[in-house]
């Protein structure tokens, strides 16, 4: 194989990251590159990610793809990569540095704002809603919660966000959180689950309590798709994880070939529900 590309992601076990990995592997096969993919257990483990990054640099790969958990922490290591002549492509979240040649990413704030708009539409513009998110301090956690909550606050004064709780993306924990929220707020109209694990937990909690609350999810996966099909989830925001992985590797190869890259590769986000889930452009960005 011609190239060795190391991807350091924010996570590994979650389906979202597995979809990114799948996209990266696909590009790897296409461009004849060996692609490795790893990430820490939780999005809080910034230092573990630094260890992974420095091991990756020590391996002397042709290029590195990096999804930063913290926008600044990796600066010295990125410099080290640059000094070693290893091109770096950022993905999923950017860093405060001009070392990465490009960033393949989704605008999470805008995506969550879209979820807020859809929520407002589905519950008729008033009532109580809640958010079950995955992480209180990670970039995606903050962006999605802020994107949703701020949009509601600024555009929908009759809607109140009564509770924002965090379940670490763990389905079981998110289930319990959802149940508590529903039981504490019998008149709740809607819940936004801010990543796949949270969204599934919300669906689960809703089912266990036989609630009819409106649920909006995030990302995809077989269970979320099924929930949308059976109506328990109204719809969800999806990014294009496969595209992110694919574009990252593709950009790395382009950089290695000396091509110039755009500053940002926007991989986009989409709203999907029962009506458009089978549409080719949506089906292409969903994963199982």
């Amino acid at each position: 194989q011609e190239y060795d590309i190391a991807l350091i992601s924010k996570g590994f076990q979650h389906q979202f990251w597995q979809a990114v990995k799948a996209g990266a592997d696909k590009a790897g096969a296409e461009f004849n590159a060996k692609v490795t993919f790893e990430g820490p257990d939780t999005e809080a483990q910034v230092d573990r990610q630094m260890d992974m990054l420095s091991s990756a640099i020590a391996r002397k790969p042709s290029a590195i793809g990096f999804a930063a958990l913290d926008s600044q922490a990796a600066t010295p290591l990125l410099q080290q990569a640059k000094d070693a002549g290893i091109p770096v492509i950022a993905f999923d979240s950017g860093v405060d540095s001009d070392i990465p040649l490009t960033t393949a990413t989704t605008d999470n704030v805008a995506a969550a704002a879209l979820a807020a708009d859809k929520m407002a539409e589905l519950i008729g513009g008033e009532g109580k809603v809640a958010v079950v998110a995955h992480d209180q301090t990670s970039r995606t956690g903050i962006d999605r919660v802020d994107g949703f909550v701020n949009q509601i606050k600024s555009k929908y004064p009759k809607i109140e966000v009564v509770s924002v709780q965090y379940g670490a993306g763990d389905q079981l924990q998110s289930t319990e959180i959802t149940k508590s929220i529903l039981l504490a707020n019998p008149d709740l109209k809607g819940i936004f689950g801010a990543n796949e694990g949270s969204a599934l937990g919300v669906i689960n909690g809703k089912k266990e309590l036989n609630s009819s609350v409106v649920v909006i999810g995030y990302d995809s996966g077989a269970a979320q798709k099924a929930a949308i099909m059976d109506g328990s989830m109204a719809g969800a925001i999806t990014q294009n994880p496969v595209g992110i992985g694919y574009e990252t590797v593709k950009a790395a190869i382009a950089a290695l070939k000396g091509e110039t890259l755009p500053k940002v590769i926007d991989t986009g986000f989409f709203w999907y529900d029962k009506t458009n889930i089978d549409a080719p452009e949506i089906a292409a960005v969903l994963y199982d």
Partner: protein, 334 residues
Amino acid sequence: MATTDTAAKPGLLAGIRGSGAYHKLLAFSGLIALLVVFSLASPNFLQTANILAILQATSVNGVLAIAATLVIITGGIDLSVGTLMTFCAVVAGVILTYWGLPLPFGILGAILAGAASGLVSGAVIAKLKVPPFITTLGMMLILKGLSLVISGTKPIYFNGTPDFNQISLGSIVGSVIPVMPIPNGVLILFAVAVIASFVLTRTALGRYTFALGSNEEAVRLSGVNVDRWKIAVYASAGAVCGIAGLLIASRLNSAQPALGQGYELDAIAAVVIGGTSLSGGRGTVLGTLIGALIISVLANGLRILSVAQEWQTVVTGLIIIVAVYADILRRRKL
């Protein structure tokens, strides 16, 4: 840990003798205090649906904590309960969904996988003398990796086995007494507790469990096959983790291979809050059940009150210490 000794004295007696009803009643005090506070603070707390939600939320951690109790009474520790649970769930997924076999095979498979893994841990501990902490830490990682490997790093759904969901969510009680829709998961928790308690107090296995934790060398010099009983305890704990795996998979209608790490701490916390000493030789299943309930009530109550998450964490930490301290004070007075 020397300080635990004095604290836990009566627990043992209660456990071994099956008597001491007075003690047992009093041990609820911390739990009851929490229930009272939350009931006063929120009208939504003491409602059937919420009580059921709390019980349901206790089921997985409760079963795991019972597994941990068995091992801790021998003076050991089991850090692998969380990932073993996941592994068993994945095994059930592979059997039911990938192989398409009928439900009983899945149930049996999960429990056997748990027992087999416990057997391996037990054998490494008993025969190779690797400390339980290290053995089960290693097993925790091995099982975590294997779950990802055999599931293909993705969740396995049980859509082909519609009954699977009923293991935890169905309600046999509810179908007979409609006003008491106690989910089966909760029944299973109580069944496991009753059986574990019976095994611990009434059978040879249970007696050796306490004896091993009390003075392993003396047991060995009494001509007892210490290794065999130790392995049996770990295997039983593993089987119980298998049940926990079924419960969680059934609740989520899927085997989530990434889940499980971190659950061991909650399980061990429930055991210790329940008065079982980490130095072994004493402990009760009832105490563990109360410990697990304290943890769930706390989580549920604080969420119902919509306490900010960071403060939830602080308050949980404080209350765990205070609850155990209150228990120590109470025991000292007796």
